[in-house]
Symmetry: C2
Subunit: 393 residues, 2 copies
């Protein structure tokens, strides 16, 4: 019998990603054998807090009204106005509907932005550890990934970025609050990056875009989020409502241009063209209508803060070494042994604790833990984490 | 001031597509000046018939239940089972949930399928006239577009396809009922294509995939839809519920593999990987839940048939030369003058009739008319079409 003749690159990528799948398969096997509640699954970043009432009420009203059908590919004006108001309340700039393009999630947003700016072979800097899909997103659109390490404290290493920049650098992806580490950048650190990029732009007569990926920015706990628009001009913000409104899987994302961009029309025309021709077409209409009829889009992060405080307490009691999570729902402790894949396998096999080894995020020696699970599951995992750490002490 | 430094290819494409935008701008200007109801807008393929009651009821129930959150990227099992049942009732094969991948619309589906099969430079045959976005979809994924004309009656020209096939041919896009012509292929014609492709596969030891794009297949009027699964083995069906359920813009699409495909797991793994890494991630969850809880997915095409019959009556009375539309909601008359762009401009300026010149679909000398508008608008346009034709008689 014939065997499928597929893209060689895709088949190679499938093979490379298979060890992560093995871990997930192992998790499913454990859940089947011992029961869901006997497994401590911290592997997935799936929002656990229910959407705010104002969202579910708006959604119900919109379903009653009906009115499906194609809309402008850029997005409903009312939805873009709501997003513009929301962004204006949080970042410096005077954003209006013309600065916004509604997209199919933040993943769709990043692909649309990269396709719009990249010529074949141009470079995009990612700061390691980084969200694993960035690599695929950049390569999808003809770009070359340049990985540049964050410091030990997961801050931007300005000297390292300086060395990574070449005349072919077209963009840098900035992600704060950060997946996988849960840390957040300071305004000072972001300002330093802005100064560096401005001087490189001038020196090489090139344009460097900062793709500011901020799907966790409303889930911030102790301090203010840094504002990249204060630090730099060429910002393209990409985000979604998956995390803060708790509607992951509904694919409601958006792109925002700096409100001082002189060529807004050309840039949004490029975004809209790529949104359409990459096959995304438009962000799901019903979800756009729902947010358009909400009073405001602000959410309460306190449910996540409780989880953050609890997991931090447990990891500290057990003895793990990690940076305090400032936002989002991840924490990124050091693996007690060098080989973090072996550590994660041990955690799964002996304690039914499922966490993700850091290799998938471009660095070695750590593991990622999502605390977007029930408080009960976190508390019940305490003894297992303590015992797990002792195995390597 | 700086000007955006964008992808050169995207900027070039923006310039090429600008004349279509000019037509739309002209339409908007006309509507503003004379009022919506004084303009006969037949330019857009936007479904006008409301979704069936069973869909809106299912959607309301699902919104009440809540339950957002990430799901398997392949799609909810219940939604895939429903689609498998639906496909099994219409095409030959014994489809189950494992043959289905839920996607972000049919546009997302085609991009995912093309990314999964194409190596750089491999060729995909499109049959002209063709849906304009095919070109972008193929080029997005490293493929080369090979345009091959349909016959005068818009049937597959087997000899022409034979000549177009090379050892680099990796796929052919088959679209019936057809956008832009509204015609439908016969089973005999599709069988001939299947025989040709099978012999080419054998001769050159190559795999040729047929991407069967069928978003209009439930809107069929006088006869049965041809079944490509009867004619050929390497079929990848791409479709969406935008047209038949009247939910355009909600982005609920799917891919279906031939139920005899020997390597289903590898192919669906590739589709799921591309769905995720291209940034689509998953089809919107709420819409998947809605179709999963419907009794069946069959719809009544009679509202569109009424519109088809009325527009055909008017075009015949006016004197236009066209093939009878068999499905979907388009008709594709010959332009009475060679330069169809000039004809369309004349129709817009003098009669406020908005139709799309055929150049965008890869052929010259025709125009596309969408009858997915109100019966009232169609009837009111009668005198304008009669006068328009007379100007060139």
């Amino acid at each position: 019998m014939r065997v499928a003749d597929l893209s060689k690159r895709i088949v190679a990528n499938l093979e490379n990603s298979s060890w992560i799948r093995k871990l997930f398969d192992e998790g499913n096997r454990l859940k089947k054998e011992f029961g869901e509640d006997q497994v401590f699954d911290f592997s997935l970043g799936n929002p656990v807090v229910e959407p705010p009432k104002s969202f579910t009420e708006a959604l119900r009203e919109e379903v009653k009204k009906g009115g499906h059908g194609y809309i402008p590919n850029q997005g409903l004006v009312e939805a873009r106005e709501k997003v513009a108001e929301f962004i204006s309340s949080r970042f410096s700039g005077n954003f209006s509907s013309k600065h916004i393009v509604m997209t199919v999630g933040a993943g769709g947003a990043l692909n649309v932005a990269l396709r719009s700016i990249l010529n074949e072979g141009e470079e995009v800097i990612v700061l390691a550890p980084y969200f694993a899909e960035y690599k695929a997103y950049i390569e999808n659109n003809g770009g070359k990934v340049v990985s540049c390490p964050l410091t030990e404290k997961f801050e931007i290493d300005i000297e390292a970025v300086k060395k990574a920049i070449t005349p072919k650098t077209k963009g840098l992806i900035l992600n704060t609050p950060h997946n996988p580490t849960g840390t957040a950048l300071t305004q000072e650190n972001v300002n330093e990056l802005g100064e560096l990029l401005k001087s490189c732009e001038k020196e090489n007569s090139q344009s460097i875009y900062v793709l500011f990926d901020e799907p966790y920015s409303q889930l911030i706990y102790d301090e203010e989020l840094a504002d990249p628009f204060k630090a730099y001009h060429n910002i393209i913000l990409a985000s979604s409502f998956s995390k803060d409104l708790g509607i992951a899987g509904e694919r409601l994302g958006y792109l925002v241009l700096d409100s001082n961009t002189p060529d807004v029309d050309l840039l949004t025309a490029a975004f809209v063209y790529c949104n359409r021709t990459l096959g995304f077409v438009n962000a799901p209409v019903l979800m756009q209508r729902a947010i358009a009829s909400m009073d405001n889009l602000k959410v309460d992060a306190s449910d996540y803060k409780k989880r953050r405080d609890l997991i931090v307490d447990i990891l500290q009691e057990a003895g793990f070494d990690f940076m305090m999570p400032k936002g989002g729902f991840f924490v990124f402790p050091k693996s007690p042994i060098e080989d973090e894949v072996a550590f994660c396998q041990h955690a799964a096999e002996k304690y039914k604790i499922l966490v993700v080894p850091s290799s998938g995020f471009g660095v070695k020696g750590y593991f990622r833990l999502s605390f977007s699970v029930s408080l009960d599951q976190i508390e019940r995992s305490r003894e297992a984490f303590i015992a797990l750490y002792k195995d390597f002490a």
